[in-house]
Amino acid sequence: MTSNYNNSVSVSAIDLIAQCRSVNYKAKKPGKSNNDELMRVKPSFSNRWVSMFDLGVDKIVHNRGAMPSVAILYSTESRWNDDNGLKHGDMIRIVTTGRNSRIVFIGFVTAIQPHFTGGSPQGQSYEGINYVISDIRWLMDRSIVISGQVGRTIDDFENYGQENQAAVDDAFSWFAGRRAVFNQDNLPNKDNELLRYGNFDIPIFGPSHRSGYWTIADIVKYLLSPLWLKNIDFVYIAGDPEQLPGFNAEDFNKIVYNVSLEGLSLNQALDYILRQVGYSYRWSYYPNGASSFVFYKMLEADKSSRSSIEHQVKHKLYAPDIGEDCYRAVERGKKMLWSAHLSKNIESTINLPLVYGSPAKYEFTAELIPAWKDADLVIPSSNPVMYEADLATSGNPEAYDYYKYYHSRGSLFKRDVGRLWCLNESGRYTGGDYNRGMPFDWTAVLGDDAVNILKRKNFGLWDRPLLPCLTKEKNSEDSVRYIVEFSFDGGSTWQKIPCGIRALKDQAGIYISEPNLAEIGDQSSAETSDSPWSGENLNLWTSLVVDKTAGGELATWKTKVRITACVQMDYRLYAYQLPTVKSGSPFNQFAIYDYSDKYYWKTRTTASVLANETLSLAADERKDYTEISSLAERLGQFGEDQSFSGDFMLDRLWLNNSAGYAEFEIGDVITDINGREHSLATNVANRSVYPEIVQIVHLAQMNKTRLITRDLRFSEVRPE
């Protein structure tokens, strides 16, 4: 029963009593049942709550999010080695006594702590037993680990592949070899068809071609479904998660990419996923005796009184003014502040956030230069070209210079001649023995992105390994990878010729690994028409020989190779926010936030042959500048003021209000300390925010309540 201060400065202490439902269980024998049965030992509990008059309540600690709340009980009559019947796993609830009895805590005995000391003439001896009671989040931590993927096999469908294909209710499989990664590699993997399991419609995993993207709401419904909660269904079933207090369909309707919950406990997974949208959760107890999860958005407390729909409230505490008679405030029912420790500091202020997105990537098409020295290509005086058919009938291929120097099996094989084609992006082949012209100018590919605001080039002379194209295959999310084309007419026409090619790892270029360059032939079976021979088959080797014989500049060569690929440049998507006048620090205090796996800058340029609209090939393009700018702005607004944390001790226990709801809950905020008229507001995103309660400790023996608050920085809000 809650006491109040009306018309009196003297009140009765709140009495708390512990009640117990004993746990009963037997270990199941391993048998021929499925793995699910082998893993689970299902306890049961006695039907009635039995009051434990020999147990005293020391303290109750309410925690936020994934951290379980705990209560400490102590035995009032037992010796340290007594067995008073309480055992591990027993369910304990703590209630207030009196006519309007309320539940203030429910949990399980997780630790039994006998203790004693012999004392001395100066100090008394004592002995006793403490009991640590942890709430259901502890059980969720220990009994449920998120792992693998729940999905379907072909057997879980009716009429698979036919027009009337339908998923079967209650039919699913758990795939331990797959990882619990949602929207892996930024691809959708939530089956478009929900799993009907009992009375629940549950999102599960599916192949990308019949999947959509997971949202926060989907993941919460997956986590709090019977698929996982069946491990503790002897004490808790969430019901429909959308009906849980604080479930916000609008805020939770946010897609998250590449989120791995593999190996996390259910509690940890829930905490992590909710923080992506600035939410947390707690376990609350209601006037009707029920208890459940309550989701709340951090720092969003708006009202001053709690109800079934108002889950976060604002509080004003009272510290009497100098010389004030405290009884007046007590008579008005103020929440009297007995002690407090506050900290306002700028150490963790960040008023200049710099948010990094991914480095810029561009898909393009460009001609490659021959990355060998001209002097290394010596036309054999006899048999200047030999085909595989010729070599097969030759008794000694090594006798021929063509084979010896230019075939991959030759003893003096010149590995680069005719085979190494590069972009020369770093100038490696400019001047000197190679003399292949100036370094590749990215201006033609990058357009306006080629120069910065100072009109200087945006790229350095760095080696850039080629990356797979952004262009996707038809009906697939796979990249088309690299497109290599050959021209034997100086670039008038281009053709793809199947042959062995690999991309280089240390620079933008390719290596033709085909054993015999003469087998890379023109697809129209054309013939050479120029010196040193005409009428010979037109292929890569003969075309190079023609160019060598002609002796002209590289630009006049008829043999050309071009590549369509993607390359990463030297600048990245980024955004920052400068300090405003509301900043709590006079200094520029900056931090780098690396979101390179979330915000991208990927462009298929018009320089790519795959950009041709008639090809109708989609590309994995992103330019998330608006999103990253918005994030930087919000990070600046959230972090620029001083941080404010506090530890408040009230002069008595504050358990439940007159309506039966808890007076203080995790997620509530403290706005002011009246009496001394001290505001706890700080500026965030152009509005006032207040320290949020992250822990509540009810010190039953001292009859005091302690509130621990932290500001935004400790609340780990992700303001996305």
Partner: protein, 132 residues
Amino acid sequence: MATSLTNVFGDEISVVAQPHEWQKQYSGFAGAHGLTCINMGSRGYKITVKGRLRGNIRSSYDSARSSCQSLIDSVSVILSQSAADYSYKGKTYYDIEWEAIQLIGDSSGNYYHWNLQGQVYVDFVATGRSLR
């Protein structure tokens, strides 16, 4: 069933039971006047028994004193017993937990007195607390 205090301490006793005690928790506030108070509940009451223990009549001081000491030791046993009910002059005192028995000396600092009858006697005060 209550035990008579005269059976424990003998006939030469007087018994005083104090009113109930209450535990109050006071809180003050920095810079402000006054206190708040929380009534933590009653904490039982104290009972005091004063009296005289006489040993048996003996022919020597040593023997008489030994007899008196034996009586003191037997009375002291109640200190190790758990709370029980006691009665005196028609009043029952419930759940009394005995805390201490103290011998009282005279103005000369003597505790054991030898009278002409050959008895050694001591004065004592026993304090206890009701748990109710």
